[in-house]
């Protein structure tokens, strides 16, 4: 009897440990980033860090740690990728749920899932050998290593997320809404635009936010195709260097305990906070949408 209770307790404890491990890991990562990152500001003023456009830690003369250019770069690829992925993703979701027959659905869905499984390095390679030259040809540029290239590839990568979550949201719209709309004499298009999409909007917004999160954190692809010039970008045809790419490029060689080392952690902290807020927004929106439904 005693042995049984002991076993019960042990198992209970093990599952509890598994349950809270995510929280422990998350807090651990965040505190590691924060405690290292904060040391940057012993040598670099906060104003310079956020508002200087020059990031040049291995300078010939005076090193500089300004993240504005890479913040702008990061926002540019996110914006660019969402401009492409949101209409395409929602369009696909609507097609799957409302237009396509069962057969088409069965064929389409596995393909979308496979799209999510392509390794980012493969997509990046595609960007170098195919998308880059294509962009250069269409826009008459000398090369295609720029923000447009990054945006297109990130759009491809965030599409599966956007499609599957907005698909769920559209499916969750009660049948009665649609029937009521038809009963009032609305056609399919009006029903879709005026009834179904508004009813599913919080789910769609959550889908977009999670897609944004995917684009924000992606490293390898943007590192490979955007050229990584640390200059302040002026247009989508300029080469850009995102925060993730900067961390990936420089962390391998940075001497331990230097300002440069801490500055990379500071960039990581900012990135972490950004993706955390994107996820929290998505979570809040989804929570709201769940309470609406029930």
């Amino acid at each position: 009897m005693k042995l049984k209770r002991f076993k019960e307790k042990t198992i209970h404890f093990l599952f509890f440990l598994a349950g809270i491990s995510a929280i422990i890991i998350l807090l651990g990562i965040f505190s590691m980033l924060l405690f290292n990152g904060i040391k940057t500001f012993k040598d670099v003023s906060i104003l310079n860090f956020f508002f200087s456009t020059v990031w040049n830690p291995s300078a010939y003369h005076e090193p500089s740690y300004g993240i504005l250019s890479m913040l702008v770069s990061t926002f540019m690829v996110i914006l660019g990728s969402m401009v492409i992925a949101v209409p395409l993703g929602i369009g696909t979701a609507v097609y799957i749920t409302e237009v396509a027959g069962t057969r088409t659905q069965e064929i389409l869905k596995p393909f979308i899932e496979i799209l999510a499984a392509i390794p980012s390095v493969v997509i990046g390679f595609l960007g170098i050998i195919f998308v880059g030259p294509l962009i250069a040809g269409i826009f008459n540029l000398s090369n295609g290593l720029n923000a447009v290239n990054g945006s297109i590839l990130l759009a491809v990568m965030s599409l599966p997320t956007i499609i599957s979550i907005s698909e769920d949201a559209i499916r969750a719209v009660p049948k009665e809404y649609k029937e009521a709309s038809y009963a009032l004499g609305a056609n399919r298009w009006t029903t879709l635009i005026r009834v179904i999409i508004p009813a599913a909007i919080s789910g769609i917004v959550a889908a977009i936010m999670l897609g944004t999160g995917r684009a924000l954190g992606e490293t390898m692809t943007v590192l490979m195709v955007t050229g990584n010039a640390p200059a302040m970008p002026h247009s989508f045809f300029d080469s850009i260097r995102t925060m993730t790419a900067t961390i990936a490029i420089e962390l391998g060689e940075v001497p331990y305990g230097t300002t440069h080392y801490y500055a990379i952690f500071a960039v990581g902290t900012i990135l972490f906070l950004m993706s955390l807020s994107v996820n929290i927004i998505a979570e809040l929106v989804t929570a709201k949408y769940r309470t609406q439904r029930t």
Partner: protein, 305 residues
């Protein structure tokens, strides 16, 4: 009942197995394995040298990886590699750091590299002087027309800051900072690929990367002749005499750093690199054999007699 037991036993055994695996992988053992890490400029060359060496001595296994000189030196300091390939000398801060960790870096010079300034084959410019190259990469010269070329905005391709070539080029050619608009490519091969596709491109790479067998240049690439200054005669790095004599302005020694004077397998491999056979291999790969001056440097370290 039994099922529960199995889970518990599994939960206890699994960490034990994992920790055993981890501790085993930490334990390097003495199976004649040499780790070499660092410079991307050197990685293909050293790979070739080690292949030939391993054919001669099948009991030795050598693994060569790239990542950049900074990466190799960091690995040497952290005692994660036996030899660090570096296309630049170690910085004094790095040497201090190494000594603080009980690592005694020894600089062996085993080859010379001609750094090639490359453009697209179709570009009408055939030679540049060093000041022009510096002006382009600093961002002062923005159009090919300023150096006698077509009216085309120049696109510059360089390495990332963990590259020894990045540092060498900055310190010897630019003597200042790169323009922020220089694209920072992930490796030398990527620079070559980008330049091949870009008619307005300029890039700098170790010459071994753009020469194929018998000294031919790979397709769609042009190696620029370089002059020391506006008054000098531009010369090509493809003739090894120009590099050895120093007439070509961008030649540099390639280093391998060891922790302390090497012994055993590592010493034998280094001696092979410095032997006549090794130096001939180096020349066949598109690099240049070291001069007597560098040989004497190695002799003074006690690596060779």
């Amino acid at each position: 009942m039994f099922y529960n037991f199995r889970i518990i036993i599994g939960a206890l055994i699994l960490p034990a197995i994992l920790s055993t695996i981890i501790s085993c992988s930490k334990n390097k053992g003495d199976n004649h394995s040499i780790q070499i890490k660092g410079s991307d400029t050197e990685v293909n060359l050293v790979q070739r040298l080690s292949e030939v060496y391993m054919n001669k001595y099948p009991t030795v296994s050598i693994s060569v990886t790239g990542g950049g000189s900074g990466t190799g030196i960091a690995a040497l300091i952290n005692k994660q590699t036996d030899l660090a390939n570096s296309s630049r000398p170690m910085k004094s801060a790095e040497i201090d750091q190494a000594k603080a960790k009980g690592v005694e870096p020894v600089p062996i010079i085993f080859a010379l590299d001609g750094l090639a300034v490359i453009t697209h084959e179709s570009l009408s410019v055939n030679s540049l002087n060093i000041n022009e190259v510096a002006g382009i990469f600093k961002g002062n010269i923005k159009n090919w027309k300023s150096v006698g070329g077509p009216d085309l905005e120049i696109s510059m391709y360089g390495r990332q800051s963990n590259s020894g070539t990045f540092v060498y080029f900055r310190d010897t050619v630019l003597k200042g900072d790169y323009a922020p608009t220089v694209r920072r490519m992930n490796g030398t091969a990527q620079i070559v690929e980008a330049v091949r596709k870009d008619k307005a491109a300029i890039g700098y790479v170790g010459i071994g990367y753009v020469l194929i067998d018998e000294g031919k240049v790979i397709s769609e690439i042009k190696i620029q002749k370089l002059a020391k200054d506006a008054d000098s005669q531009p010369v090509s790095p493809r003739e090894s005499e120009n590099v050895k004599s120093g007439a070509y302005p961008l030649s540099r020694p390639l280093f391998q750093y060891t922790n302390g004077i090497p012994a055993g397998e590592i010493l034998e491999f280094v001696q092979f690199e410095l032997s006549r056979e090794g130096q001939e291999l180096i020349e066949n790969e598109g690099y240049y054999p070291i001069t007597d001056k560098h040989m004497n440097h190695n002799r003074s370290l006690g690596i060779i007699k």
